[in-house]
Structure formats: C-alpha cells, structure tokens
C-alpha cells in the first residue's frame, strides 16, 4: 500500500510538471491519426503515458485521497462520518441549477454593492423621476431622483411601493386565450388575422382603449395605427381621470392646456378642494416648495399662508393655516363669492349662486390674495367641476399669477380627451355592434368604467377582445386574449412629468415573465413587431431633439433620468372672459339629501394597487385606515344620522346602492359622504382579495365624482375596519407643540417651555457612558412644519428594511409592523386642526428598553444607536412594554414570507429577514450607516454630512427629516437641533431621545382670527 501511494504521488507530480502537454507531439499525432474524431484533451490526443495512467485512475488527482485501498481504520472513519453527516444533507439543499461566473462582468458590478439607475415611474399619464437601487441585477428599492423636477429626490408612497408589484407573485405571467395558456406568437397570429380583416374596412370595426397616454412615443405609435386604420377609433379612459382639469382649461382658454404651479413663489395659496401636496401630478414638488417656505431658518420670521376649503380632510388640509370644510356646492358658491370680491368677471346662467356664510373669512382671504398680488395662487381640485377650474384660472389671471406662480404648457397627454365621454362613446358603439376588434391596452374598464355604461355587458358584443394588463382582472375574464403587461421596471418607455419634463423609462431587469409592454403590442399592430422598443424611443427622440450628438444626448438622458431641453415652452393663453357659470353651479342640495364624493384612494389609487400589500397596509394619510375603504362622514352628520364607526350602511342613489362601513372623520364637511374608489375588486390577487367595497357602482358617466342625491340607509351589521390609530387626542402630553407665527415671533423657543425638562444631572447613569470615540453620534430631527403626513417615509422604510406585511386581521389586532409611523392628532372634533408626527425609534440615550431585556438583545452602540440583535432576542416583549414611544414591533407570528420566490428577489440583502418571535425596530438604517462608514474608511476621510441618508429621510417629499452627526456642529442635524423650535417628546422621562422635533408654527390671518 505504501508503495502504491508513493507511485501515485510521483505520478501526480509528473502530471503537474507537464501541465501543458507537448503541443508539437499532439499536433503530430492528430495529423497522423486522421480518422480519430473525438479526443478529450490534448494529452489524450498526444497519448502520453501520464494520460493513460489518468484514465486508469478514474478520478482526477484532488479526489485521489480516499481512493487508496480502504484500510479498516479509514473504513470506520468514513462510516462514522457518513452516519454523523447523514442527517445534515437535509439542512442545506443545494440548488440544482449550474452556477456560471460572468465571462465578462458588467462594468461597475461588484457583488454586495448596489447600483443606481435613473428611470421614471408613469402613473395616470404623468411621470415621476426616480433612481432605482439594483443589487446584482435585482431592483430592490426606489428612491427619488434629485435631478428630476417632479420630486427633487423626494417621492410619494405609491412610487415607493410600486417596486413590490414587480415581484407580485399574483401578477399575470402567461398569455392566455380563453383562459388557456397560449403564446405571444399565437396571439399575434390571431391578431393579424383580425387586423387584415379590419385593414380592408380601413379599421371601421377596430377600437383601441388605452389609459391616459403620457408617453410621447406611444402616442406616436397610436397615431401611426390610426393612419393605417383611418376609420378606427382610439379611446382613452381611466378611473382617476383628470377630465375636469382638461374641460376646465378648455372652458377658460378654449383648448386643453397643462397647468402647473410654482408654489415656491406663492405667498398666499388657496386650495379649493385640491390635494395639492398629495396624489396629483407634481404634488411631491409642490409639497417641497410649499414647505421650503415654512422652515423659519436662521431667524427667519416670515411664512407663506395656505387656505384650504375642502370636503374631506387631506394632507393639504392638514397643513392649512385656515381650513374650511364645505360641501362641493358650497365650495363652488364660495369661489363665486371670492371671485366677486376680487372683481373677476363672471356670467351667470341665469344668475350667479349666492353665498352668505363665512363672509368675514372670504373678505379677509380676498384682501390677503390681493395684497400678495402676483405671489398668490389658487388651486382647484381635480374632481371639482370644470367651471370651478375655469373660475380658478380666471382668479389666477386677475391676481396676475400667470407667469409667476401659474404656468401653462401644451398638454402632457398625447391626446387630451374627455375620457368619460370617450368611454361612453366606446360603450355605445359596442352596444350598437359597431366594434369588431377591441384592444385594451392597460386598464380595467369592466371594473372601473362608470356603472351606467354596463361595460361588462357591452363588451360581450365585440367579436375579438384582447387585453394587455398587469393582472388578470375583471376585464381579462371577459376578453378572448390576455397578454401580461410588463412592469415599468421591465420595459422601455418614455413619459412627461407634471411640468412636461420628459424622461426615458428605462428597464432595470428583463421581464420576469412573458410580459409585453404597450409599445410592443402597438408595435406589433403597426408592423414594427421586430423593432426593439428602445430603438423606437431613440427614433422618436432623435426626431425631437436638435442635439448635435444624439448618442451623447441619449446616454446623458439615461444617466440623468431627464431628456435635456425637451420641456415644452410655456404657453401664453388668452382667457375667455367672462367665465360662464352653468346652471346649478353652487346650488345647495336639499336638506334631506347627502352629497356623495367619490375620490381615488390615496394609496391603492384607482384599484390598480389593490394587490400591493405595502400600500394596503399603509395608513391613509388622515383617516389612518388600512385595507379598506369606508364612507367617511363628519361627527355632526354621524350624530344626526345616528350611525357610528364600522356600522354598515347602504349608500343609495336612485337605482344604485352600495353597502359601506361608516368611518367618522373630524374635519369632514357636514353632509358629505366621501368614498374612495378602487376597492371591492372581484378578481384580484391574494393580497387584495376581499378588501373594501366597490364604490364604483355609484358612479355614472355624468356624475363621475359624486352626486348630491345620496341617501344613507342604516343597517345593524358591522364591518371591522383596521385603523392604526384609535385615539386622536394628545391628552396633554405635549407631543406636538405648535404656536401661531405671532407668538413665535416673540417667543421663538415656546416649544421648550411646554413641559418641565429633567435637569441633565438628574440621572443615575454615567453621562459619559454614551460618548462616542468615533466622533460620530447619530441623531435625527423632524420638522413638523414640513411633515404633510403622506407616509412616503413609512413605505420607504418598509422597502428598505424588509418589513413584512401582516394583513388586515393582524392590523385589527394592533400588530402592524411599521418601524416609522406617522401619528395624527386632532385638536377638536368639529373644526379640528390636524397634526402629523412621524415616529421612528427615538434612539434614547437613556433607553428604557435596553435595561429590561433579560438577554441583552438590545444594546446601545457607541454612536448612540439603540441596536437590536435579532439572533439574541428571545421575545419577552418587555422592551416594547417599557418603550414610552411604542416604536418597537414584534413578530407575533411568522410574518415575513419565506416561501414566495419572487418576493425574495425584492429584499434588501443588507437587512436580516426577521423570524417569528423576534422584536424589531428602527435602526436609523444602520446598514446605510455602515455602507458609508466602509466607504469613508476606504478613502480615509471622515463621513461627510448628508452622505448617509436614512430611507425615510431620502423618501420624504418635503425634506422634513434630517439625519446626521450631532457631534459635528456644522451638520444639518446640529443646525436643526439648535433651532429654538427644537424639542424632544416625553423628555420629562429623562430618556434623552436622539430624535427631536421642530415645533409647528402656523401663520393664521389675523383678520380671520379676530372675527
């Protein structure tokens, strides 16, 4: 045996020595043999002695160790080991696929380091520029693009959450024909057949239904299609349509124009039921610009002023200095009265509505607007009547705002149409059997078209129905073909932002399934099936741009996320004066009737995000409801009608009715029942199943946003609603400190005197215990003057920190997992001021949670973080009990989805996915701190201020959150904390929170306060 071993070792060495076979020998043999076809290696070909031995040996040299004759000792060793390890194979199941390294690694791709790409998120025809974090080719997190005017780095909650849709296991994954799995090729084949029939008729039976098209290239493709099929019609419809905005500008200017605002320049702003800061195009930017004027930095003692008149409390309403809750008719009459005071010319039909209430208010407002002159702004809500929009334009014009705070451009849409009219026509022509081929490009009209059209019935008249959509939904069910639509992170496109800034929508990942984009479908219909969408985009923009070097323009556009200089010029429009006020405008409804106000849901929008767990579980900005819509009514109306929270009522219009749970909202206009659309979907994924009720049944094509003939019929059933905040008063805790500007001018440090602070010396602890030797001590400051309560931070945190969704039942149980929540408090039941307060972990220096943990799973880091060691946590929940801020979250059950493969792709690889039985909490994004720390160590210089941005800070549209080093006197956080408005909450407990707040200062009009 020994001899044998020696021989083998010698041979091994020999093989190593002659690692490269003798090439000359090989060539020679090859030439000689001629007939031999296959050889395994050059050695074989050369027929070396070593190769012969290797053939005998069966195993390559590294595997030779145990191939010696088996000794008894080795045999026993092996047996023992195989017994011992026999069970281990169950622990790690190795993946079966082959792992192949990059032949040529993509540039900049370093495992473990994310890359960021600029793209844009389209929603309802308008885009928001974003940066997407990508880990090894997986997009994981959306951040705002600081270069893009729509957000300047901020985003809203929907944008943050849109990445989850990409990985939604319930999205449509295959082409289906009559419910059976089919192929894209098969679809094209049968589409071609239909189109060739249509071609002969010039497309007389062809109808395309799209959502609002904001993509210039798609618009061009559609126009090509219409050129090819001149008789065909292109319809547009979406539930959250901005018809009234378009109609209003047509009324005012004779043409639909795009209106956008420069809120930063506005000293006095009036919102007429407009949620300026939430949801609409440009809202993120408007919120940023508005709050930029409310910072009171460096001794600044001036603020802008916001008046809000609205039906239902909104983010914007909660920021108002003066807020009136009025029903729609009263808002209209209010606007007419205001216009009268401002000397705007109106023509009534037959006469103008009169408005007797709030006269002092209107007079003061008018005076304020007038004195602000061109630095004022009047904004009208998307759902308000066209005439009110026209009125708004007229007021802005008369105040001289056009050109300063109000700008007009060409419409953003490829073809601005009255969408409710458009869908009405489509339904009518389907009923009349004029439609033979219907191609639905995105959208779910069977669910969300106005109920009076009975779209589901009308569509049955069409011979060939195909739909491209992201989910298999109510419409897909009635279509012959369904093609899965690509997510915007999977496909090329382009889009314009609120101010017409154009961006390329660039994909970050190959489509996960066999999905197609609208461009691909349209391309196939106009004979460009082979043309990559990217090339189509390049072609389009090459025509548009005058850049000398298109390649450079293109690369820069992709890099920056903006197509340079492709913004529309500002339009000079002529107002058609006087504005005609139609009959019934501002006409009060009968006393025994209620107003129904339909609105898109702030989070699931028109229903498209109903299967998005993050959005479902994010509390609505003011109501704090999750997972459901409800009939929102004011406390006084609830009392009058004798209904209470969660009580089911029938909302009845003539001939229609919906069963809805009641939710009482302070600040709601009396007599108005606000209901969100988009819920009550019948066919949706597992997440959205059974959530909410369908308010769409109350919607008609003439009354898209509500009606005044609502009756409410009580029932005695209840439906539990999952609200994340049950208590609405601060109970003298001085959590949110606020004052009027006048008080602030005399007592800028008012916030510090609201409670008795414990003297710094009053502690049993060694105060030096938490001093940092790294020179970093992390802290955060949150400006309550800037927080609009939009919850973008909460969703960003959820995406960044792999926070699970728990579901309605668990939220009802009080087990939501949000690491940062936005608390909302009211001051009063009927005419409340509304306050928002984001609550991340306060990272107390004397943290009550730390000393009660029996296993030391939560400890203090040197830099002041209150760390959580998940591995060590046994889940006593004592820390949570002892946390006065209640910011700790517990995995009562296995909340994190460990099984769904696609969801694993979304997770942030730098953050642990927590198991059942473990406490978790805000860490100030410790993974981001560490990433920057590593970078700073590598370059050998300290961490710069602003280099670390927590996810919440990054997402915040208004820059209300700032994070940084409190030891650095130059840092922004130190600057904020030095503000006289700075205060900590519950500091009388001597917790010494590192997160502090800047008190809110309102700027009421003294003329209104007086009378």
């Amino acid at each position: 045996m020994t001899d044998q071993t020696v021989t083998r070792k010698q041979l091994d060495r020999k093989l190593l020595d002659q690692e490269h076979a003798n090439m000359a020998e090989a060539r020679e043999k090859s030439a000689r043999s001629g007939g031999r076809d296959y050889w395994r290696s050059l050695e074989e070909l050369a027929g070396t002695e070593e190769f012969e031995i290797m053939l005998q040996r069966e195993f390559p040299e590294q595997a030779s160790e145990w191939s010696d004759g088996v000794s008894r000792r080795n045999f026993l060793k092996l047996m023992g080991a195989s017994l011992a390890f026999g069970g281990l194979t169950n622990c790690t199941i190795q993946p079966e696929e082959k792992i192949v390294p990059w032949v040529r690694a993509p540039e900049n791709m370093i495992p473990g380091k994310p890359l960021y790409y600029a793209t844009a998120m389209p929603l309802s025809g308008v885009g928001t520029g974003i940066l997407v974090e990508s880990h090894m080719g997986r997009p994981t997190k959306i951040e705002g693009n600081p270069e893009h005017p729509a957000g300047l780095g901020g985003t809203d909650a929907i944008t943050q959450a849109s990445i989850l849709d990409l990985y939604d296991p319930d999205r449509a994954t295959v082409v289906r024909n009559a419910g059976r799995i089919a192929t894209w090729g098969g679809f094209l084949e049968s589409l071609d057949q239909e189109l060739s029939v249509q071609r002969s008729k010039k497309g007389a039976g062809l109808r395309i239904l799209t959502e609002t098209v904001g993509s210039p290239t798609l618009g061009q493709q559609l126009n090509f299609l219409l050129e090819e099929f001149p008789e065909a019609r292109w319809h547009q419809y979406e539930s959250a349509t901005r018809d009234n905005v378009r109609l209003g500008s047509s009324l005012a200017f004779g043409e639909p124009v795009n209106t956008y605002f420069d809120v930063a320049k506005a000293d006095v702003i009036l919102s007429l039921d407009a949620d300026l800061f939430y949801g609409g195009p440009g809202s993120v930017r408007y919120a940023r610009d508005y709050t930029a004027r409310r910072r009171l930095r460096n001794g600044d003692k001036e603020l802008n002023r916001l008046y809000v008149v609205e039906t239902s409390p909104s983010s914007t309403g909660s920021m108002a200095d003066h807020r009136l809750a009025l029903d729609s008719a009263a808002i209209e009459a209010f606007a007419v009265a205001l216009a009268g005071q401002l000397g705007v010319e109106l023509k009534g039909d037959p006469d103008l509505p009169t408005y007797q209430d709030n006269t002092g208010w209107i007079a003061a407002l008018a005076a304020d607007l007038r004195s602000a002159g061109a630095a004022s702004l009047v904004v009208v809500g998307d759902q308000q009547a066209p005439a009110l929009h026209a009125l708004g334009h007229a007021i802005n014009k008369s105040l001289g705002n056009v050109g300063t705070t109000v700008h007009y451009t060409d419409p953003l849409e490829a073809d601005p149409v009255d969408e409710s009219q458009s869908i009405h026509e489509l339904a009518a022509s389907m009923e009349a059997d004029e439609v033979e081929v219907l191609i639905i490009v995105g959208g779910n009209p069977v669910f969300d078209a106005p109920a009076d059209l009975d779209f589901a019935k009308a569509i049955e008249h069409v011979g060939f129905r195909a739909q491209l959509s992201f989910y298999e939904d109510e419409t897909s069910e009635l279509c012959h073909w369904h093609v899965p639509q690509s997510h915007y992170l999977e496909a090329w496109s382009d889009i314009r932002a609120y101010d017409s800034t154009a961006s390329i929508v660039q994909p970050l990942i190959q489509p996960l399934y066999n999905s197609k984009s609208a461009h691909e479908l349209l391309g196939a219909m106009i004979g460009q099936a082979g043309l990559p969408v990217r090339d189509a985009l390049r072609e389009y923009w090459q025509q548009e741009t005058f850049a000398d070097d298109f390649e450079e323009f293109w690369v820069r556009a992709l890099h920056d996320g903006i197509l340079a200089d492709m913004t529309f010029d500002r339009l000079r429009v002529r107002l058609r004066s006087p504005i005609k006020i139609p009959r019934g405008f501002g006409h009060p409804r009968d006393d025994d009737e209620l107003e129904l106000a339909l609105r898109p849901d702030p989070l699931i929008w028109d229903g498209r995000f109903v299967n998005n767990g993050w959005l479902q579980e994010t509390p609505r900005p003011v109501t704090k409801l999750t997972w459901d819509n409800a009939a929102l009514i004011s406390p006084a109306t609830a009392q009058r009608l004798g209904v209470e929270n969660e009580q089911l009522v029938d909302l009845t219009l003539p001939g229609r009715s919906a069963k809805a749970p009641v939710w009482i909202v302070p600040g709601q206009a009396d007599g108005v029942v606000t209901v969100q659309l988009g819920y009550g979907r019948r066919l949706t994924g597992r997440v959205g199943e059974g959530s909410g009720f369908d308010a769409g049944v109350l919607r008609t094509s003439t009354d898209m946003w509500g009606s005044t003939a609502l009756k409410l019929i009580k029932s005695y059933d209840r439906k539990p609603l999952a609200c994340t905040q049950d208590h609405h008063s601060m109970e003298d805790r001085h959590l949110i400190r606020h004052a009027d500007l006048e008080h602030y001018r005399h007592h800028p440090d008012f916030a510090r005197h609201e409670t008795h602070e414990a003297p710094a010396s009053l502690t049993l602890y060694n105060n030096d215990e938490f001093s940092s030797s790294t020179g970093n001590a992390w802290g955060m400051a949150i400006d309550l003057n800037a927080c609009i309560g939009c919850n973008a931070c909460a969703v960003a945190c959820q995406a960044e920190n792999n926070i699970p969704v728990v579901g309605k039942k668990e939220v009802l149980n009080g087990r939501e997992m949000a690491w940062i929540r936005v608390d909302r408090y009211y001051t009063d039941l009927d005419d409340p001021e509304i306050f928002h307060q984001p609550m991340p972990c306060q990272q107390c220096e004397n943290a009550p949670c730390e000393l009660v943990c029996p296993v030391g799973a939560t400890t203090h880091s040197e830099e002041g973080l209150n760390d959580m060691a998940y591995n060590r946590c046994v889940g006593t929940r004592y820390c949570s009990n002892n946390c006065p801020y209640k910011v700790r979250r517990f995995n009562f059950l296995q909340y994190a989805d460990r099984d769904t493969p696609t969801l694993k792709l979304q997770r942030n690889p730098d953050v642990t996915v927590r198991a059942r039985g473990v406490m978790e909490k805000c860490t100030y994004c410790t993974q981001r701190i560490n990433a920057v720390r590593i970078a700073s160590k590598k370059r050998g210089s300290p961490i710069l201020d602003g280099e670390i941005k927590t996810a919440c800070e990054q997402a915040c549209p208004t820059e209300a959150i700032v994070f940084g080093n409190v030891l650095d006197p130059e840092s922004r956080v130190s600057d904020w904390k030095a503000s006289p408005r700075n205060y900590g909450i519950l500091t009388d407990l001597n917790t010494k929170p590192r997160t502090t707040y800047l008190a809110r200062v309102r700027n009421p009009n003294p003329a209104i306060d007086k009378g």
Binding site: H727, R733, L735, Y825, Q837, V852, G875, N881, G917
Partner: protein, 461 residues
Amino acid sequence: MSESSTSTRQQYTPPPPELGPGQTSHTSITEKITSIVLTPHTPYQWFIVVLIGLMLVGLLQVSIAYLLYEGIGIWGLNVPVGWGFAIIHFVWWIGIGHAGTLISAILLLFRQKWRTSINRSAEAMTIFAVMCAGMFPLIHTGRPWLAAYWLFPYPNSMAVWPQFRSPLIWDVFAVSTYFTVSLVFWFLGMVPDLASFRDRAKHRVTRVIYGVLAMGWRGSAVHWERYEMTSLMLAGLATPLVLSVHSVISLDFSVSILPGWHTTIFPPYFVAGAIYAGFAMVLLLLIPIRRLYGLQDFITLRHLENMGKVMLTAGLIVAYGYFMEQFIAWYSASVYEGFMMQNRMFGDYGSFYWALILCNIAIPQFLWSKRVRRNTVWLMFISFVISVGMWLERFVIVITSLHADFMPSSWDMFYPTFWDWATYAGTIGFFLFAFFLFVRGMPVIAAHEIRTLLPFGKKEK
C-alpha cells in the same frame, strides 16, 4: 381503632385546641391519615375531579403545542399590550403559592401550632402553583426554545451572559430558588409520614414505593433531631423567600417606567396580595377535601377561622395599596399617572377595576364577622371571590397600564383569544389534577407533627 377507643375510654384527656374531638391519640391520627392513602376505596368525587383535571391537562398540551407551532400570535397580545394572560397568570399562580410557604415556614418559626394540619397541603399547593406559574414566563416568550437556557447564566464560548439589570433575570433566580426550596422543604417534611405509609402498607409495590420515598427513615432519635434542625433551617431559608419572591416579581413591573407599573409600593403590596390569594386558594381546596375525607378533626373550624383572619389582614394591606396608588397618582401631579388612574377607573376597562374593588375590598369585609369566619359556605364563597379579585387585580395592573400609556397614538385594546383562556384553564386543570393525585397518594396532613400536638406529645417534648 378499637384499641384506640378503649384507651380513650380508659383515660380521657380532652383533645388539644388545634384538633377536633375525635383525635386524641397517636394511633388514631396515624390511622386516619394513612387510611386516606392506603385504601382500595377512592371516593367517586375524586375521580370526577381528576378526570376534569386530566381533560384540562390535555387542553393545556394542545394549547402549548399549537403555541410552539404557530407562535404567540395565537394569543390576543399586540403592541402596546405586550404582556397579557401569560403574565397575569404567572403572577396569579405565584401569588397562590405563597400561602404554602407562609404557613409552613413563617408560622413554623413563630411556633404557630395550628399550622400543622394545613401546612402539608398548603405546601403541595405551593409546589403545583409554582409549576403552573413557572411555565408561563417560558412559553410567553417569542422563542421559548432559546429562552429556556439563554436566561440562565451559563458559561459559553461566545462569552454572552444574561443581562443582570433586567428584572426578568431576577425572576428566573427568584422563582427557581423558590421552587427548589419549596420542593425540598415539602418533601423533607413528608419523610416521616412516608415512613409510616411504608410501615403500614400491605401491598409489596406500595411498600417499595413508599420505602424508596421514605429514604430509610427509621424514626430514631438522631433522625428526629436532624430532621427538626433541617426543618428549622429550611424554614429560615424559606421565610425570606416568602417576602422576596413576590417582591422580585413585582419588580418586573415597578422597575419599568410605565405609569401604573412604576410604583414603589409594589413589593409589599404584591406580597400581601399573594398571601391574600394564597389563603383563599388554601381554603378553596381544604374545605371540600376536609369534607370529602372527613378531616374535620384535623382541619377544624378554628383553622378556617384563623385563615379568615389572615385573609382579612392581607386584604386590608392590599386595600391600602390600592388607596396609595390613587393617592400617589393625584399627589405626583404627573399627567401620565393621573391619566392612568382615571383610565383604570373610567376607561375602557373600568368595569374590571370596580369588579376588583368589589371582590378584593368590599366583599371580604364580611370576614370581620366571626359567624362568617366559622361558616364554611361563606368562607368558600369569599375565597372564591378573592381568587377572582386577585386575578382581576393582575389584569388591571398588566392590561390597563399597557393599553394606554404614554403615546395616545398607540393606545389599543387587548382581547383574549380562545387560546389565552385554554392555556389558563389548562393550568387550572393541571393544578387540580396534581393536587388530587397528591391527596390520593401522599400524606395530606403532617401526621407526625399533629402527633406532637397531643398532650402526651407535648409532655414528651
């Protein structure tokens, strides 16, 4: 029996005040006590109780198995109410256990002779109650399989220790020490009686079992001397435990900063509450057992009356505690404390508070009456009310303090689930099952100590 009755007739001496008229000789006492165990006849009521207990033990097993499988989310807990039924019942059971130690240790040191006939069963009650209690802190954790040993300081390669500043660690030591000392004390006390069983057992198997348990007790003077000394020493050890265990448990609450928990009065108030609840439970158990086994001569009305007096005293201390909580909430002028008390009385759980006042303060005042104290039905009723009241007290402390603390935005309600109740019912079942097994198989009354009560015994001493 005939022998003993003869001797009674021959020289009648009245029984000692601690015993009933029937028990006048060593033999009669030993006979009576051993006859409970060494008999083939078991009262049918015993089977009923044990069967109910066994069924509930099954429920307990299912509850715990499901808990381990699914997670503590099956209970009604949430944020802010991170502790619920598990902690309520932990404190409740520990409290019940206290009476046993008090009777056997403190009353032994104070040489309260009347304790002898109740101390054994009270000690057994302690053991079983602590078993029930000890289970809760473990299973209430999120990951009990780790908590089971990470809470103990054991040397490990990671050099990670428990955090000794946490009251939960103090709990671990307090409860495990308490259980160990109680168990040793209880078992040691039974040794002479087990030896009596061994000597009187007819069947070989029983003889062997009791023989092993008797650990070679021969009743020699040396044995007795060492036995007495050990008992005294253990009593000395156990005495501070009576005060310390529940004090430490109260620190779980008072060390925290939560309004309603952060209270310096908690240690004495908890100890008094424990004694209160413990005596109530002793009465609840002994009154039926005394009747069932005809132990009226051993557990006399005088015993019951004395226990009534102890309950009354403890109840008044507890009432003082409630009053002090109210007073301090007002006197502190703290908005949190003030709201907490307001919320306790008139908040969402206000009815629990008033029920607690009714059960723990109002109804037990009947114990001022000697007639009530000597009436078993009344005592049973009041003991039951006190047991409920003490449960309510823990509910009020744990739940109402947590559900509305500092941040109004986070306030939420706690609703127990089926599994919350099932686990609780399961521990009651286990307690009954274990206790009745003990009654059937172990000396329920310390015969050798009773014997010392006799005049003869006294003379001997």
